[in-house]
Each structure stands twice: as C-alpha cells, then as structure tokens.
C-alpha cells in the first residue's frame, strides 16, 4: 500500500516537474520567436496566445486569396466611423493636400510624406476580401504603396518588431508585427475600385492588412511608429482594441 503510493507520488512528482519545465521552455521559445501577443495577460490571454502562436507558425508568409475582377462587390459596406473632427474636415476641404504621414521610432531616417509623395511611389493593387469581426464581408480592389516600401525608405532598424499606426481619430490606433508589416499585401491604400479611396472607406489613407479582420484595417492613417516593445503605447496591450475588450490579433 505505502509502496504503491510512494511510487505514485514519485511518478506524479517527476511528471509535474517535467511538465513545468516543458512549459517554461515553451514559454521561453515562444518569447524568443515572437509568438506571444501583447494582450497575452488579459483574462482570455491563454487562448489568444495559442491562436497567435499557431497562426505565426503557419502563416508567416502566406498570401491571402486574390479574387477575379468579376467578384468585386457591387455593394460594399463602409462601417460607421465616429464623427470626424474639425482637423479632418479642414484637410478634406483642401482636397487633403496637407495630409501627412509621419514615420518615426526605430528608423534610421524619420520622415514625413504627403499624399502626393505616397501616390508617386510604386503602386500595388489587389482584389481581396475585407471581413468584419461581426460576420459580414465584401471584396474590393485596393491600391496603394506596400507598407514594406515605406519602411525601407525610412530605414527600419533590425530590432524593430512592431509597427504602431495611428489615425487622425485619436481613439483609433493599432499595431501589427513585422510578419504582417513586411507582408507584400499589406498596403497603405490610397485608391479603391479604380477611383480615389472614399472617405467612408478610410480615404485618404487606410492601412490594408488583408490577413486580419476589418478592425485592424484602420482608416485615416497619419503616423507610423516602429518599436521593439508595445508596453509604452496606451495601456501596453498593443492597440486600442484590447483596451475596449477586443483581441489585438484579428487573424481569426
């Protein structure tokens, strides 16, 4: 009787130690390979970490499906936005001639581009789907400058791990990791379906992150900040989304 419980105790103890060590090693490896999302510490952070880690292992370079021109939605839906302030309206009245995109943080050359600058850069176009976390979706042709091109121009430092992007609406800011930032389909979009990008759809400048849901595709972009750490932005959860209860990573 006592022998069995001693053996059981030993086995259980060994298994528990092995398990704890395994978890510790896994956590270190996950940190090392950037598999921990900035909102890992929230209530449902464990599930979120599994999702983000699995997606980063599987989808580091995968491109989203590009549709045929005939599949472009005839009735795209521009989700509502909070009221655009006086600053936006002034710029809109001037045809966005004074719109600037600042690039700063971990870059060799902090720069600022006008819309005309952005439109003069090599353009990339894609017919891809945007899907909202609520469930609806539409397909459109988006054109703009690949974010990677802008990061190259500014000279992104190798230690940069995230791109934080801000909107002219102060409550809307977000960030993506370098896998998404350098992805060839991630665009600073200036045009949609062959015309100017309409204001309700994020004009004059929207970041398209096609491997993530609509809410990561922030409208009215004004500033990009490269960083190796998201702790010092907002509440340190990576974006405004987790501050209102939504996941930072929206690839699912």
């Amino acid at each position: 009787m006592s022998k069995i419980s001693r053996r059981k105790l030993l086995t259980t103890g060994l298994l528990a130690t092995a398990g704890a060590t395994g978890l510790g090693v896994a956590a270190k490896l996950a940190e090392r390979y950037g598999l921990i999302p900035p909102d890992a510490g929230v209530l449902y952070g464990a599930g979120e970490t599994l999702t983000y880690a699995a997606h980063r292992i599987l989808t580091r370079h995968t491109p989203v499906h590009e549709f045929a021109r005939s599949q472009i939605s005839k009735d795209p839906f521009a989700n509502e936005v909070s009221p655009l302030g006086a600053e936006f309206q002034r710029s809109q009245a001037g045809g966005f001639a004074d719109w600037r995109l600042a690039v700063d943080g971990m870059v060799a050359r902090p720069v600022s581009f006008s819309l005309a600058d952005l439109k003069s850069f090599p353009r990339s176009s894609q017919i891809t789907m945007i899907a909202c976390e609520e469930g609806w979706s539409y397909i459109a042709e988006w054109s703009g400058v690949p974010l990677a091109h802008i990061l190259n121009l500014a000279g992104a430092l190798p230690q940069a791990r995230y791109v934080v992007y801000r909107s002219i609406q102060p409550d809307w800011w977000d960030s993506i990791d370098m896998a998404d930032a350098l992805h060839p389909q991630t665009l600073l979009t200036v045009a949609m379906n062959g015309g100017e990008l309409p204001v309700p759809f994020g004009g004059p400048l929207r970041l398209r992150v096609p491997r993530q849901l609509g809410y990561k595709n922030v409208k009215y972009i004004t500033r990009l900040t490269l960083s190796d750490d998201l702790k010092r932005f907002g509440k340190g959860l990576g974006s405004a989304a987790p501050e209102s209860g939504y996941a930072w990573y929206a690839g699912i």
């Binding site: 449902y44 599930g47 999702t51 997606h55 989808t59 989203v64 989700n79 909202c132 609520e134 699912i252």
Partner: protein
Amino acid sequence: MTEVLRPRHSALVRVTHWLITLSFLALLVTGVEILISHPRFYWGETGNVNTPALFRLAIPSSRDTVPTGYGYVLPDQNGWSRYLHFEAAWLAVLTGLLYGAFGFFQGHFRRNLLPASSDLSPMRLATDIARHLRFRRPSDEEAWSYNVLQRLTYLLVIFVLFPLVIWTGLAMSPAFASVFPAAVTILGGRQSARTLHFFVSIFLVLFLLVHVLMVYLAGFRKRVGAMITGRLAQPKERA
C-alpha cells in the same frame, strides 16, 4: 473486502466528456453573442447589409448598422465573446485530439461505439427506434453498454458534426484561409462557411437537448453519477 469493479466509463472518457461539455457551453453562449451582432446569413464569398440576405433571424442586433426592424440595439458583447470563443475552441480541439487518440489506440471506438453488424439490420433498428419513441426506460443491464442508436448518434457527433463545425469555423479566419484557401472554396466561400457553421451548431444543440432528455429518462442521477465517478449505482434490491 474490496471489490475491483470495471468502471462504466473510463477515467479518460469521463474527464474529456466534462471538458467538452464546458467548452461546448462556452462556445454556444459566445457564439450566440457574436451572432447577434449580425443576425443575417448569406451564401458565397461576400454579404453585408447592402446585399440581400439568404435569410435573417427575427432578433434584435447588437449593432445599429443592421436593419432589424426593432427599435433598439443590444449591448455589444463581441470582445470577450470572441476571446472566449477561440479559447474554448482550443480546449475543445485539444480535448478532442486526446479523446480521439485514446479512442483509436485503446479500442474505445471499436469496443464501445462501433455498432455490431447484427444491430444494423433494418428490423433491429426499427425496434430500437420504436423503443425510443415510446420513451421506454432502459433496463439496468442496458446501462452497461450503448444501444445501436446511441452508438450511431455518438459516431455522427464525433466524426461528422465536430470536425465540420471546426472546419467551417476555421474557414472564417482570413489568416487560416491564406494557408488553406481550398478549405474555404470547397465550402462555397466565406459566407457559405459562416452559414454552414450556424447550421452545424444547430445540429449540435439538438444533439445536446436530446442527449440530456435521454439521460433524464434513463435516470438522471445514476447516469450523470456514472459519468462523474465511473461507478454505476447498483439496483436498489441488491444494495
């Protein structure tokens, strides 16, 4: 004197049963919360409030952009619901993998779930269906094994409905779709996947309701007790 009794349900079946129950309830509640943010369904790749719906549910929505015909908007619960939906999905999938490995390698599927070929004759099936339709309470001996309708239903849930609900769910993930685009196109598109996800969930809820009803008819305390402790209470006269 200690009696060594074969448990009615092995420890692994019991633990995985309750883990799946827990994750399923979490998935159901959060799934409903996510659904009410857009209670409209479409077929194909795309669909939104500007396009006609395949069908819509006559419920209010948690978004004022959805024309429901109701004069009010429910509170938005999508943030925590999405977090918990995917966390519970991980629990369900990992538990399912453990259960599946156990089922194949320890003979649980072969021994306890695969119906005997003699039980699959139309006569036997008809008798069994008739017995169920009369809500006849099973005898005590029957509590030690699953009948043929139970076996077929469990196999359907384990090998058809659960894989389908996971597949249709994953097909809605833009990142997953970038790795396995065929997983979406085979289903007919992202909106088709969402609509199928809804219907498979309906079938799973139907299973849950019938399952609980059958457990109730067979003796709730005894059957639930067996799924918790593994022991099947002896009939009263022998106790």
